[in-house]
């Protein structure tokens, strides 16, 4: 007979994590623990220049004096930072010229992820930089991009090859002492991506990075730096997965975006870290700091689809420094079972005539807690600033929670700020209506959820939108795949 809400809930609980496999790759891992010596060794391993080592040490010293934040609406056992290994690299670390040289196990991993490099290369026209356990193992399309003067490589490589750019911009948007996790990342980041688009260049393809945590007991601290020089454009995609493990894995990334005058950066994330099992065991702690700065007439657009992680703490933000600059934040956060998400954005209006838009869609199922936390701040000199915020929550069942914490600080009376919020529930009547038209309950839920998320899904690049849509379905479906 038909499905009741009870039965739906039961189905949702049985959903399995699709990417829960472990790749057996010979890797070199540091013993657990963090001290100055470990920071030095990471820097040494990566043959970094002196200034980088010192920058890391400064960050480490700052971190040691800081305390883990507790203001977010999430509850977890704080990780023991001395029980984590801060470096894990696949041992055969060569520069691959062709796919044949890549470890076959690694290739298998990519295949399971559905991002066969080869296919990506040939079909999608996407340049992929893959970060697996902290070290960037393969970069494609580098040559095509190089012709336009675009630099797209691992951050380690950038530190070697383009130290001037890295030194000039790293830590300028997110200072090392910005917050606990950013400081930790600054001290121990092992790899990440770097991207530079020269003046007036429109990047001809979507740049893509795929992160994956593999080794047990390692934290992933990747660092991304994207610089769009004057009048340039880039669309950057980031996807994340992790194998299922019983223990909680830590992920503390930092992403800095710099959009110089008239530049535009579109940054899209599909985050599918392991969320833990249905009893709330395991899963990734995702404590990420993402922030961009917009110079005159520049635009930064964050789009995120967050379906994974046991605990998410993430607020991709925009500093609208230049006049006429624009910041956008489009987010879908889906939580199921025991997942907890506290996510949102900060829009800091400094320049005149700056505009920001926030569209947040939270979907909660199971026993999960989903919070939107956002700050819209208008500084005294920012005349005619505008903001529009819309926060919608969709609930499934009656054991989950949706929360909204909007903070508005306007210190200029020309500011125009609008905030709208709705909360709705997937109703049995909606499901029955779909059923009556021949659509089964799982598909019906997917339909309602996709409809709810449409405004944000539409902001994603085409191929990513399809993947994100599937991910939303998988995250809520009873059966695998």
């Amino acid at each position: 007979m038909a499905y009741t809400e009870e039965e739906l809930k039961k189905e949702l609980e049985t959903k399995e994590y699709e990417y829960g496999f472990y790749t057996d790759i010979d890797s070199e891992t540091f013993p657990v623990g963090l001290n100055e010596e470990v920071v030095r060794r990471i820097s040494q391993k990566k043959q970094e220049p002196q200034w980088m080592t010192e920058w890391r040490l400064k960050a480490y010293k700052a971190w040691k004096k800081m305390e883990e934040p507790e203001w977010a609406n999430v509850h977890y056992n704080k990780p023991d930072y001395q029980a984590i290994s801060y470096y894990s690299a696949p041992k055969k670390k060569d520069q691959y010229k062709s796919l044949d040289e890549v470890d076959p196990e690694l290739l298998k991993t990519f295949e399971k992820l559905g991002i066969s490099l080869d296919e990506q290369k040939k079909l999608a026209g996407v340049a992929v930089d893959i970060v697996m356990d902290s070290v960037s193992v393969a970069t494609t399309f580098k040559e095509t991009l190089a012709e336009k003067g675009i630099i797209f490589c691992s951050i380690s490589e950038a530190i070697q090859e383009h130290p001037d750019l890295v030194q000039k911009y790293i830590g300028t948007v997110i200072p090392i002492q910005d917050n606990y996790f950013a400081a930790l990342n600054s001290a121990v980041f092992s790899d990440g991506s770097f991207c530079y688009i020269p003046k007036g260049v429109r990047c001809p393809m979507e740049l893509s990075t795929y992160f994956r945590i593999n080794q047990a007991g390692t934290g992933q601290f990747e660092r991304t730096l994207v610089i769009a020089d004057e009048s340039s454009y880039v669309s950057y995609l980031e996807g994340c997965t992790a194998p299922s493990r019983d223990e909680n894995q830590l992920h503390a990334a930092v992403v800095e975006l710099i959009a110089l005058d008239d530049a535009e950066i579109k940054y899209s994330t599909v985050q599918n870290w392991f969320p833990g099992d249905k009893n709330g065991k395991g899963g990734v702690y995702n404590f990420v700091t993402k922030r961009g700065i917009c110079h005159t007439n520049a635009k930064i657009s964050w789009t995120q689809v967050e379906t994974g992680s046991a605990v998410t703490w993430k607020y991709p933000s925009c500093i609208l420094k230049g006049d006429h600059s624009i910041g956008e934040f489009y987010s879908i956060a889906l939580t199921n079972n025991h997942q907890q998400a506290d996510t949102g954005t900060k829009m800091i209006h400094l320049g005149k005539n700056t505009k920001s838009t926030i569209i947040s869609k939270g979907i909660s199922a199971g026993k999960s807690q989903n919070s939107y936390r956002g700050l819209v701040q208008v500084h005294p000199k920012s005349t005619n600033a505008r903001n529009f915020s819309q926060c919608d929550s969709l609930l499934m069942g009656n054991q989950c929670g949706a929360h909204t914490f909007p903070y508005i600080e306007a210190r200029n009376n020309t500011a125009q700020i609008e905030h709208e919020a709705t909360t709705s529930k997937i109703g049995e009547d909606q499901i029955f209506y779909c059923n009556q038209r021949g659509i089964d309950p799982e598909k019906a839920i997917a339909l309602v959820v996709n409809g709810f998320s449409k405004e944000v899904l539409n902001k994603l690049p085409m191929e990513f939108a399809v993947e994100a849509q599937k991910l939303l379905e998988i995250s809520l479906e009873g059966s695998v795949g």
Binding site: Y3, Q430, Y433, R437, G438, D440, P441, L447, N450, G451
Partner: protein, 248 residues
């Protein structure tokens, strides 16, 4: 087509249907009339398989097949369609996307491939013309912000697209002005054929002037207390439901 025998059903422990017998053959249109609370909408929900309604006695057979153990979507796949009295809103899902999903779900259940896009498009154009539906309407979110008339027209549009064997129109006339009623009735009439059947549930005789039934049944207190031809509907309109109450 549909054979109902001694059907008893309850909702939240309250007995609503108390022994319904109904035999609907292919090509026929049956009207079910009755005062408020007589069980008309319960009957349509029970046929469609709504989980809140428990059948505690009797049988329902569709072309000889017992419906008892079939989920609502399985009944839909077998060709049962319910035009809802209060169609639900699904924000962000367009009319087109919804009907496409519904058609392909039914095809999948029958082991067929998805309907090719061009065939789908042609069919959508044809059926929307039949119901005088504007193409802009098709890209709007399902039932969101629709007027009463638009909601009902959308229901009949879905009926036209899905081509069911048995259609149940539950109070399709409620919320319709006379122009909209004519368009909807006209559409329904064009969809009538010797291979399908319809059950029209209504409180008033008005709709039956446009959709002329072969049989009229009067439902009262969970039972069919009187059956006849379309003249019965006229008589009911004149004498009111009190006449039936007295008779029972």
């Amino acid at each position: 087509m549909l054979t109902i025998e001694n059907l008893h059903a309850q909702v939240e422990g309250k007995q609503i249907l108390k022994g319904i017998d109904l035999d609907v053959k292919a090509g026929e249109v049956h009207a079910i009339m009755g005062p408020n609370g007589s069980g008309k909408s319960t009957l349509s929900s029970v046929i469609a398989g709504h989980q809140d309604y428990k059948v505690n006695q009797g049988t329902m057979l569709l072309e000889g097949e017992d419906l008892a153990d079939l989920a609502p979507e399985e009944r839909a796949h077998k060709g049962i369609f319910l035009s809802f009295q209060y169609p639900v809103e699904i924000p962000g899902v367009s009319v087109t996307n919804f009907i496409k999903t519904a058609i392909n779900a039914t095809r999948k259940a029958k082991g067929l491939e998805d309907m090719p896009a061009n065939v789908m498009l042609k069919k959508i154009r044809e059926k929307s013309a039949l119901l005088e539906i504007d193409s802009r309407f098709l890209s709007r979110s399902l039932n969101e912000g629709f007027s009463g008339g638009e909601k009902k027209r959308n229901e009949i549009f879905q009926l036209a697209m899905l081509e069911p064997k048995l259609s149940i129109l539950d109070e399709t006339d409620s919320g319709l002005d006379i122009d909209a009623l004519k368009i909807v009735a006209n559409g329904v009439n064009k969809l009538r054929s010797k291979d399908n059947a319809m059950i029209v549930i209504t409180h008033y005789q008005r709709l039956l002037e446009y959709i002329v039934p072969d049989f009229v049944h009067v439902l009262f207190d969970g039972k069919i207390v009187k059956s006849g031809t379309k003249d019965l509907a006229v008589e009911l309109e004149e004498k009111g439901y009190d006449w039936i109450k007295e008779m029972v």
